[in-house]
Symmetry: C2
Subunit: 201 residues, 2 copies
């Protein structure tokens, strides 16, 4: 009777909109909070079955979808209660894993241009990310101006945008620093990529 977080994402999704199938949930998750959460079909479908068996959701096909061979679900009262209980619990810090930062940290071990390449790539991804988030922001303001969920959705969007902007700013200065570092290395100084690194042990 304990649930993983996939279960709560599903309950949460169904709390916003009824009559969603696994496929639709997957799409909704990607669209609405793809920037801070992800779920795979391999998680979603079994979890739907389980939640239904536990009575937290019920199969409930809308008329429009009944012909389309897909099983939709809706939240039960028990499901809603379960979701609220979880929402009130302290959130857990997800284990930190940032491969970009890891590679940057070991940057001196690589050839001089490697770190620079990674930062450029990060900038590109973040520019795309920012454009996407700002697009969602615009859409949301236009289409659901007075949805009671809006304040919360805007706050999550706001954090995403703020963090992405901060990362982009950092990236600019990082590019400058790495460039000048490469300049120095190209002159007399020993490039990092050659020979064993010194040992501080």
């Amino acid at each position: 009777m304990s649930h993983n977080r996939t279960a709560y994402v599903i309950l949460g999704g169904l709390s916003i909109q009824s009559n969603l199938s696994g496929y639709e949930l997957h799409k909704a998750i990607e669209e609405n909070f793809g920037s801070f959460w992800g779920e795979s079909y391999g998680q979603i479908y079994p979890t739907l079955k389980r939640l239904a068996a536990e009575g937290l959701i019920v199969p409930s096909n809308s008329i429009s979808a009944s012909r389309k061979r897909r099983q939709q679900y809706s939240l039960t009262d028990a499901g809603r209660a379960c979701l609220r209980e979880w929402l009130a619990l302290p959130f857990q810090n997800d284990p930190p894993r940032n491969e970009f930062l890891l590679k940057l940290f070991f940057g001196r071990e690589a050839a001089p241009g490697v770190a620079l390449t990674h930062v450029r790539e990060l900038q590109e991804r973040n520019r795309r990310m920012l454009a996407g988030l700002e697009g969602i922001d615009k859409m949301a303001r236009a289409n659901q101006p007075r949805d009671p969920n809006m304040p919360y959705w805007m706050l999550t969007l706001g954090l995403g945008i703020a963090l992405t902007r901060a990362a982009l700013d950092w990236g600019e200065s990082a590019l400058a620093q790495l460039s000048s570092l490469q300049q120095v290395a190209a002159h007399g100084a020993q490039p990092a990529g050659e020979g064993p690194a010194e040992d501080k042990g």
Copy 2:
């Protein structure tokens, strides 16, 4: 012959300092990049064995530690080459999972104070995080002023600090918005925690 990222963290750690044991690696990872990476003993020890079997690292006890019943390792040339190869590969975006944002997104479903509580908690964690990062920054500048790794370490630290500051700024404004939202809810408007939410499907 394929490696998970634990292997590369270990190779990277040993590239900076030789003669490290599993225990010391664990501590070093936590101290040096705990803010963006984590490893458990359950990963570290088996991986050490495997890397040694593959010849990427070698058992190499320093004299100072030989009495302390602990197995230390050092990087081989093959290990260093393997690390460099990986460093040059494009970094992968780690799957986004932020439970705080998830709970905030579903905030309307919870009682009015819940989101506020979560944001306050986030602020506290981020203040601690910032203090820790700034402490490391200070220490590093003082102790290893001309280590050739320094530029890279400072960059990673810089991103961490920039992101944490941005999150703290966002938090302040979020607290204000949520407070006024709660004020409104406390008056005539129907609090979110009552009755089923409307269905847009």
